[in-house]
Amino acid sequence: MSQKFRLNKVGYINRDKKISFKFNGKKYFGFEGDTLASALLANGIHLVGRSFKYHRPRGFIGAGVEESNAQVQLYSGAKTEPNAIATTVELVEGLVAKSQNCWPSVSFDFGAINNFLSRFFPAGFYYKTFMWPKSFWYKIYEPIIRRAAGLGIAPLKPDPDRYEHQFEHCDVLIAGSGPSGLASALAAAKNGARVILAEDKPRFGGSLLTDEVTIGNKKGKDWADEAVAQLKSMPNVIIKNRSQVFGYYDHNMMVMFERTKDHIENPNKFIPRQRLWYIRAKEVIISTGSIERPLVFGNNDRPGIMLASAAKEYIKVFGVAVGKKPIIFTNNDSGYDAAIEFKKNGINPLIFDVRENSESSTVQEAKNLGIDIKFSHGVVNAKGYLKVNSATIGKLNKDKTSYENLYDVSCDSICVSGNWTPTVHLSSQSGNKLKFDEKVNAFIPNQSRQNESTIGSANGSFTLKEALEEGFNKGYNLSKKINGKDNQTSSPTSNEKSYGKQDKFWCMPLPNKKHYKRCVDFQNDVYVSDIELALREGFRSIEHVKRYTTLGMATDQGRTSNLNGLQLVSNIEKKIVPEVGHTTFRPPYTPVTIGAIVGREVGKHYRPTRKSPIHEWHEKNNAVFVDAGLWLRPRYYKQDNETLMEASKREANNVRKNVGICDVTSLGKIDIKGPNAAEFLNRVYTNAWMKLPIGKARYGVMLREDGIVFDDGTTTRISENHFHMTTTTAQAVNVLSHLEYYLQVVWPELAVNVLSTTEQWAGVALAGPNSRNLLSKLFPDIDVSNEGIPFMGYKESNLFGVPARIFRISFSGELAYEINVESGYGVFMWEKIMELGKEMGIEPYGTEALSTLRIEMGHVAGSEIDGRVIASDLSLDGMLSKKKDFIGKRSLNRNAFLDSAREKIVGVVPVDKKTMIPEGSHLVEDSSASFPNPKLGHISASCWSVEYNNPFSLAILKDGKKKIGKKLFALSPLKNTNIEVEIVSSHYVDPKGERVRS
């Protein structure tokens, strides 16, 4: 029979909608509104997984995020999700889940042999062994350990789902929709505050879903439903279920994680799987509730043993009894609630209470219902391997160190209640220094550092009355503080049971000669004996205990184990808990999908792609693109089956012989204006700028303050107070910030403004002997002669009606011009040039040919200006003005920079004139010297010189100028090359620079 543990009269599931799912290959049914956990329990299935280290059988311990055992693998292929918490997975038609970390099956797991050998594997055993022989760790032991590592299986395919981000501001963000959260949301919203209320679970209401209480003459759950309906209707409220606030960051930046898709049967394919909310809240109310602590006893990790609060939730919310012969084992009154719910549904529980007595109304109710209660008794050991089937019960002696008698009781589940731990994660993340509260017997928030308030049971206020009052007061006071309004909502009357005092006793002693495993951290297999061992070995700081035993380091981050671990340490060390302290709470509260954090920055959208306005033309003309920072630039224009080398040679050759056109839009362009513009450039660049005539351009080098070359480029004086600066593509953004820094911070007295115009202009370079001829066709109205536009000259004109700027500058070393028009006319300009240049043999050339041209001319670029060289290394000494100061000049006095034997730029030609020298090769004197072989320099850039038809490279070489004419070896051990080379001048082609001036 299916769902034989389903109860008839209780629960908020929709019994009209039956849902089928598969677990470990078998088909089961549940109802809409179930979680995978509640559906499995309804079918009597407790065994869901195996523990990490010893592969001990594990079942459910909780009903929500506190679950540390029940992790399953969902689906398969690209959509698979490892380590899904079964208690938080909503049941959806067709769900497929299976157990993890077991082979061949969860009920017969080979790895369980570890359990029988567990005495050899105590905490930290791996530090003490696997050291011999030396190489075995990596070759033998570690691979074996790795085979056993991990829980679920990662997908190996890209994630087919998409994720979104949302940004919000609000007055009050409330995390948790229990009674205190709802109350504060109502109070704040009614007082006009912009409120966001977040609830992690699918259902709002928190403890009101399970507690028998009344608020203002309504049942708790009904009051909650009405409050939610009211909040939903208010325009100033965003109320979200399936949304967990997982991180409290600086300046009240809260991050929330919303599950939007996986619970829907046939989701619209456009909705994101999950959504990440960045919320800046003026005030944050933390009403995250509390989590029950387990009690520790022998084999307390067996399937069928769970928190009493979870058992109650399974009954009340899901209509599922976790057992038909349950034992309730408690040290406080709240465990009785679970017993009462069992009883009300016709199941007879047994209560074992370690206290000597309790006389609260809750206990009285249990007694009145005829529930069998045994005080001063506790569960000593659980029996049953794959599921608990009986328990050894002990009657405790007066001081609770031993037993008066022991006996066995048969059972099918044990519900434990070790009191409550406030969920203080967010409070602690906010910087709130927690304090240990003796009454609550746990840490609670103390002093807020940010605008944060913790209320309700998260604040140690466990009664409904306190929770409601704190909620209404906080919501009102905070909203008033923010908006000054004064509409107060008063707290309604409420009715609840009374609860007696808890007992702080929580860890059952071992009977004589018994060595039961008593589990503290379920998922990571940390037992009482492990913590004892750590302390015995001197790991006494709680952080050392945590790291040595791995306590609290599992995927549940110790939600159910940390405090028990702390108490154990404090008992053994004879310190009080606050002295032991707690480990750091860090975000996220529960694991968050990496895809959700990343959002839309995936695939091609990982980073923006910058394209020139002429990009489409390049695409249509077989350009092969290369990434240059964020820009895509044509690397070469492929013809037929050309290789990169063939194409770049052809294109470079054509520049040297005819004329070529190159898209240089990506070069940084900065407009510099103001009466002190020339003075400013004079400070920024190393050379002199005051006397640059209008209509002339000049090459400039700028340094960082530490004397290292920062960037280079040409800057043109458009008019008296107006300059046009160009930068390299790579440094464009940094140069602008650099200029702004000096103008605004260092020299605010200079009247200058700078503005990036990179994207305002489309730029092309025309280079080659025919470029002047072509220019005359493009601009028939102006004098393009060597006198009309001399080298480094500048003219404004119009290109068939389009305003254009003409610069006579050259990177290729040929007679060349750069033409800029407004971006929108980029294609017009390009096509016009191609059309008119056809008869002159024009061809486009890409960055590869551009490199060839500049390398053989000895012009430096990014591969030489690598952030480690000074100007003289690049033979740019002449650019350093002796007459004026400039940024970075003072640093050039350093000893290391004055060393005449520093590395210098040179040219390198292979002796055989055939073999290309791989870039990144190093130059050495003796190619067969023993290591370390002294390196004299490196090859920064290589090309096939189209001028001389042989390879040519640039190198930065120690004392380079003195080595011209010498022979060295260029070694690239990575490529197994050893090339004899001759050192030559870096100006390989046209060393006098006649062509650019022709």
């Binding site: 490892p82 990343v598 695939g603």
Partner: protein
């Protein structure tokens, strides 16, 4: 001292592990020591160990304000490598690699040195060339390095993004096969255990509050547990260096910055190497527990808070997903931050100071973990001999005056750019 081995483990198993000794004692500080090391992190512990072992200076105290191993040695991403371009770095870290290779045996503590290979992905020919410059420099220094092509990478990390939709396609990689990982806590504890056994006093919860200096010579330190004399004091406090230097009226060429790291939930191992993304700063490996260990950029502003903000992690993880798209469906389990002593040229300082007997060790940026053995080894030499070893002679403090900088990345003094 008990020797750790499979045999001692079995023997102790039969007495229910009741007979293990403490790993290190909890001594009361003496009045005077031959040397004091301030800072019980990896470097401090290693320094004390090598002082005792290599230089027979056993009367040593390590003063730690918190618990040992709680700084960056306990909060890093455990990567070991010597894949540096400049000789000063390459030869130094390569000596470190040799120490790593024998460390488990030497310390009789399994530090899980795992030479699984570190792969630096390149996303353009230009980047491959700059990697080649570094790799060739390594090879000529006798350090292992190989170039991998796209097709070879497809076999090693088939789940990386080799598709058409990659924003920055993978062109190839530089790999140091001997690069890898080690278990960070074990390194601290292993050094602590052996140092303790040789007589070093490890004094936790003892904060240095001042220095006693007279006539330009160090005489001792003031601490929260009283004054302690010593003629030799070594400063090994990474992110706290400036704070102690201030007590000596020293300004140093460092800034404190927070670097975040995170791990995913444990999954069955699929990544056997350490891989770095070349079109960003992301790096990733998979621990022996199955967690993906991930890190990247600094948060980017001076910080002494051992925590960071989410946008930095968002940025870093976007790099991760760009590299390995399958990471998207895994879940981020835990995040944390550490304080980096970012030096102005990205390289450390291991040097004497202007005060006789006071020695400095700082500026590790985000690469301090792999240096733990060699930093301790050379610092111990510097302290014991009162002069640097050849391996650390380039890591002088006055290089910031002479210009003999060791800038691997060429980014200059904007430490926050990293």
């Amino acid at each position: 001292m008990q020797k750790y081995s499979i045999f001692s483990l079995i023997r102790n198993a039969f007495s229910n592990h009741q007979n293990w000794d403490v790993v290190w004692r909890d001594p009361v500080p003496k009045k005077e020591y031959d040397a004091i090391i301030i800072g019980g992190g990896g470097h401090g512990l290693a320094t004390a160990y090598y002082l005792a072992k290599e230089h027979k200076i056993n009367n040593v105290a390590i003063l730690e304000k918190g618990w040992i191993g709680g700084g960056n040695v306990g909060r890093n991403t455990t990567i070991l490598r010597s894949n540096y371009m400049w000789d000063a770095n390459g030869l130094f870290y390569e000596h470190g690699m040799k120490l790593w290779e024998n460390l488990s045996q030497e310390l009789n503590y399994n530090v899980m040195y795992s030479p699984r290979g570190i792969i630096n992905l390149a996303h353009s020919d230009a980047q491959l060339n700059t990697y080649a410059r570094r790799g060739n420099s390594m090879r000529l220094n006798g350090i292992d390095a190989v170039m991998l092509g796209r097709e070879e990478l497809k076999k090693i990390i088939p789940f990386a993004d080799f598709s058409e939709s990659a924003r920055f396609p993978i062109f190839g990689a530089l790999m140091q096969p001997r690069g890898g990982t080690a278990r960070h806590d074990a390194v601290a504890w292993g050094y602590a255990r052996q140092a303790d056994a040789m007589g070093v006093d490890i004094i936790q919860h003892c904060e240095v509050t001042g220095f006693d200096v007279s006539n330009g010579k160090i005489q001792g330190v003031q601490t929260t547990r009283g004054n302690i004399k010593s003629k030799k004091v070594g400063l090994c406090v990474a992110g706290s260096t400036s704070l102690l230097a201030e007590k000596l009226n020293m300004k140093l060429p460092i800034e404190a910055h927070v670097l975040q790291a995170c791990v995913s939930e444990p999954v069955k191992p699929f990544l056997d190497h350490v891989v770095t993304f070349g079109a960003g700063h992301f790096y990733c490996s998979q621990s022996d527990k199955g967690e993906m260990v991930m890190g990247g950029d600094l948060d980017g502003y001076n910080s002494y808070a051992q925590r960071g903000n989410l946008p930095t992690l968002q940025h870093v993880l976007s790099e991760g997903v760009a590299m390995f798209p399958n990471l998207s469906r895994l879940k981020m389990l835990r995040t944390w931050g550490g304080i980096m002593d970012m030096s102005m040229d990205g390289s450390p300082v291991i040097d004497k100071s202007h005060i006789d007997g006071l020695y400095l060790n700082f500026g590790w940026c985000y690469g301090g973990f792999k240096a733990t053995p060699v930093s301790g080894w050379t610092f111990a030499h510097t302290i014991a001999q009162d002069r640097p070893h050849k391996l650390n002679e380039k890591f002088k403090l006055n290089r910031f005056n002479t210009g003999h900088l060791i800038d691997e990345k060429g980014v200059g003094t904007k430490t926050w750019i990293g």
